[in-house]
């Protein structure tokens, strides 16, 4: 046992879906998102744990199958392992899929890092009749092996203790090497001699590893080598070329394939020495496989997928209906409370129209969002979303996208309620820069959580009888549009050959209620927090833009004169009744007094509308109106859509404020959906046009920044703003014009 350290640093590495993030959470007490699909961790995460007086700095690396440089996550993992000072690397392997998982282990050992194996999900392996002799595995591979169940935390103490013990051991990591056959071994020996002699790259990597990377034609290592010593690098490349030619002539293969074969051969030889025992027949179909036979069937699969998504929407709209009404009633009550207890003026307008009707419009959808996230969590945690990705892989290939793009689409809100920012980031797993670009330019078309309240508002107000069906249609339109745009881009500005893709299907798992509730709450809380912070701020700014500069005195005088004229023309009894009613809301008005009041409301309404149009935001909305009319949008909608660039929820909050400010009759106060239904400029066709525009128009500001960062250029971020808005307007205007001409969805 070595000395105990005050602070040590360990890295967690492993295949995607091996339970790495779950173990990280278990060790650090963090609550990182865990998905039952590969590729949750696209960047490294850091956390801390305390064990027996030692502070352990833990880094969760992206899940990778290998340490080649095919994708950015592999590079992130490899760079961290080679460039950071880790006292130990905990390699998490899925016990039920040991052969494939150990492939990474072999590469870690070749890299010369001290490895401790966490044999994870031993319970899943046992339930499948697989028993693993961890002691034998440890002896054969000469590394510590600790059985763990990350979900329950079993084995984590022992694992941490072992990692600390390894970190305390002063002895260097052992020199691990396996044979790659006579031809490659001879070449490797020759390369190793040159590398050691010239001190080539060995400050960062073991000499043999550098040789293997040259044989694998690892672009990053070769590039680095060229920079450091071009002559040595050229000598190594000559050896590689020579042995490659020889292998082609003798075995009709190439070094990368042979290296892979020998690594699997090494793993297989270890496992066959009694490490793995199966109580069932080896070729039996596991339960997951049996389910997949039906669920991913070429004909049945898409039908089941459509039925599941439709069922999800039906579930969400059915069960959220009552709570949404409660929320609306609550904000209505709050509105009444503020209206009754505040004196007329700017502050009252700010509180009632800007804050309560603005932010309240967004918060009113919290129950719907919560139900949606709950449903999505079930699909995600059970492993069904990975099947969706699997089924869509071939479809994606036909449209010039990569299989990995599917998960980016789903993360962005492929079903509903995701976010385009992680979707854009998920495109990092793509090797081809062109496929990556096509993916990050099209993921914003998905229905993210911010678009959801806009959709829910319009669908609820204008398609109330077929909400679930309409949401399914919106989903299909978003996916269809994204795929067609991807195809267009891949045929024109970012054309190039496709790259192959192999998708791992994780086993189905029964989601735990705790996990579902945690995921649902985390996402819902993000929505609430955003509404209470940024959306609130933007609502206040937009209220100010919709309020100032206010009508000039001359215009105010015109409306005041009109009021005076109405009052002078009214009978004395009616005026008295109205004056009495001003102090008593419950008072019943005579027919004559009600008629006078109605005239006054109409004057107030015209004044409010004129003031709104005269405001800064109103001027922008009005300036856009000649163009936006082609898609059926009036100036109020234009303000909302411009505000939606900051965050899509702002579309709802701005409509809430705009319609609240034009509202003068307190008895007509209702939900925003009701206000839109009653508004003369609105009908189902306008709603459909706005839905289509919202799906396709410019991504929100944060997504644009993410696109610029991932694409490495503001040119593509600008492209996504201009192109998407033009596309959105084209689609919305076409549908609106055809609908207007044919009378479709009008009335």
């Amino acid at each position: 046992m070595g000395k105990q350290l005050e602070q040590i640093s360990i890295a967690l590495g492993g295949n995607p879906n091996s339970g790495k993030t779950t173990l990280f959470n278990s060790l650090t007490g963090a609550r990182q998102h865990v998905g039952n699909y590969p590729g949750v961790t696209v960047e490294k995460k850091e956390g801390f744990a305390s064990q027996n007086g030692t502070n352990v700095h833990i880094v969760d690396l992206p899940g990778t199958y290998s340490l080649t440089a095919y994708s950015q996550d592999e590079v992130v993992a490899r760079d961290f392992l080679t460039e950071s000072k880790n006292e130990a690397v905990v390699n998490i392997v899925d016990a039920s899929n040991l052969e494939r998982n150990l492939y990474l282990t072999v590469q870690l050992l070749e890299l010369g890092v001290p490895v401790c194996l966490a044999l994870n999900m031993v319970d899943v392996a046992e339930s499948r009749g697989i028993t693993i002799d961890d002691k034998k595995l440890s002896n054969l591979m000469e590394i510590p092996v600790i059985p763990t169940i990350a979900r329950t935390g079993k084995g984590k103490e022992e694992l941490l203790n072992k990692a600390i013990e390894m970190a305390g051991d002063a002895k260097p990591s052992r020199n691990f090497s396996i044979s790659y056959g006579d031809d490659l071994d001879e070449a490797l020996n020759e390369m190793e001699t040159i590398i050691l002699k010239s001190n080539f790259l060995i400050g960062s990597y073991p000499a043999r590893w550098v040789g293997i990377k040259y044989l694998e034609k690892d672009e990053l290592v070769i590039e680095k080598g060229d920079k450091i010593n071009k002559a040595v690098s050229s000598d190594l490349i000559k050896i590689v070329e020579s042995v490659s030619k020889h292998l082609k002539n003798t075995l009709n293969t190439y070094p990368e394939a042979l290296i892979s074969d020998y690594r699997y051969g090494y793993i297989s030889s270890i496992l066959k020495q009694g490490v793995v025992k199966r109580s069932h027949e080896e070729n039996r179909l596991e339960l997951s496989d049996k389910i997949d036979k039906v669920v991913t069937n070429r004909f049945l699969g898409p039908l089941i997928m459509a039925a599941i998504i439709y069922g999800l929407y039906q579930f969400v709209f059915t069960y959220s209906e009552a709570p949404v009404v409660w929320f609306e009633n609550f904000f209505g009550w709050l509105n009444g409370l503020a209206s009754d207890n505040m004196s007329d003026g700017l502050l009252k307008s700010l509180v009632v129209s800007g804050i309560i009707d603005g932010v309240g419009g967004v918060l009113g959808f919290v129950p719907l969002i919560m139900f949606m996230f709950f449903g999505i969590s079930i699909l995600e945690d059970s492993g069904y979303l990975a099947r969706v990705a699997f089924m869509l892989d071939k479809v994606f290939a036909a449209f010039g996208l990569h299989g990995n793009s599917v998960m980016a689409f789903i993360v962005s809100g492929g079903i509903a309620g995701g976010c385009a920012v992680p979707g854009v980031m998920a495109s990092r797993t793509l090797k081809s820069p062109r496929e990556k670009l096509a993916t990050l330019l099209t993921v914003p078309f998905m229905n993210c959580g911010a678009k959801l309240p806009v959709m829910a508002l319009l669908v609820g107000a204008f398609f109330g009888k077929n909400e679930a069906l309409m949401m399914l249609l919106i989903t299909v339109i978003a996916w269809g549009g994204a795929l067609l745009v991807a195809k267009l881009l891949r045929m024109t500005v970012i054309s190039g050959p496709p790259t192959p893709f192999v998708m791992e299907l994780p086993p189905y798992r029964l989601p735990t209620m705790r996990g579902l509730l945690t995921h649902t709450w985390e996402r819902t809380w993000q929505y609430i927090k955003k509404a209470g912070t940024v959306i609130l701020g933007i609502s206040i700014i937009l209220w100010a833009m919709m309020t100032f500069p206010g009508l000039p005195e001359s215009d105010l005088a015109v409306f005041e004169n009109q009021r005076n004229e109405v009052m002078e023309a009214a009978s004395a009894e009616a005026v008295q009744e109205l004056e009495a009613a001003a102090d008593n809301d419950e008072a019943e008005l005579s027919e004559a007094a009600a008629a006078v009041q109605d005239q006054l409301f109409q004057i107030d309404g015209r004044e409010a509308e004129k003031a709104l149009r005269h405001s800064v935001a109103g001027s922008i909305g009005t300036a856009l109106e000649p163009v936006s009319k082609a898609a059926g949008f009036d100036w109020r909608t234009n303000i909302a859509l411009v505000g939606g660039f900051a965050a899509k929820e702002v579309v709802v909050s701005t409509l809430g404020t705009a319609y609240s400010m034009g509202e003068v009759d307190p008895e007509e106060t209702g939900s925003l959906g009701e206000a839109l239904q009653k508004s003369p400029g609105w009908n189902p066709l306008v709603a459909l046009s706005l839905i289509l525009f919202t799906i396709f128009y410019a991504p929100c500001f944060v997504t644009v920044v993410a696109i610029a960062r991932e694409a490495g250029s503001w040119k593509w971020a600008g492209f996504s703003m201009v192109f998407n808005t033009a596309l959105a307007f084209g689609v919305a205007a076409t549908v609106y014009q055809i609908g207007s001409a044919t009378g479709f969805l009008i009335g």
Binding site: E6, Q7, T28, G29, A30, Q32, H33, V40, V42, E43, K45, E46, G47, F48, A49, S50, N52, G53, T54, N55, H57, G345, L346, L347, L350, F373, V411, G417, G418, C419, A420, V421, P422, M425, A426, C448, G449, A450, H519, E522, R523, Q526, Y527, K529, K530, T533, V534, L536, G537, I538, I540, I541, A544, A646, E649, F701, V702, T703, V705, R709
Partner: protein, 55 residues
């Protein structure tokens, strides 16, 4: 007085939103400001402080 209060509230909102957008632009924004549901990238926003080392 009312106008001053409203002016201050609007100014604070401008500062908050402006700061937020600037931070997003610089890649330092928090998820609450950036996206409503980005649990997948939350680790970029939540820097976890070291836990207290046992004495």
């Amino acid at each position: 007085m009312e106008t001053i209060i409203v002016f201050v509230i609007v100014a604070l909102a401008c500062l908050y939103v402006g700061r937020n957008l600037y931070r997003q632009f610089k890649g330092k924004g928090s998820c609450s400001a950036g996206c409503s549901c980005a649990t997948e990238v939350k680790h970029q926003c939540n820097s976890m402080p070291p836990q207290q080392t046992e004495q």
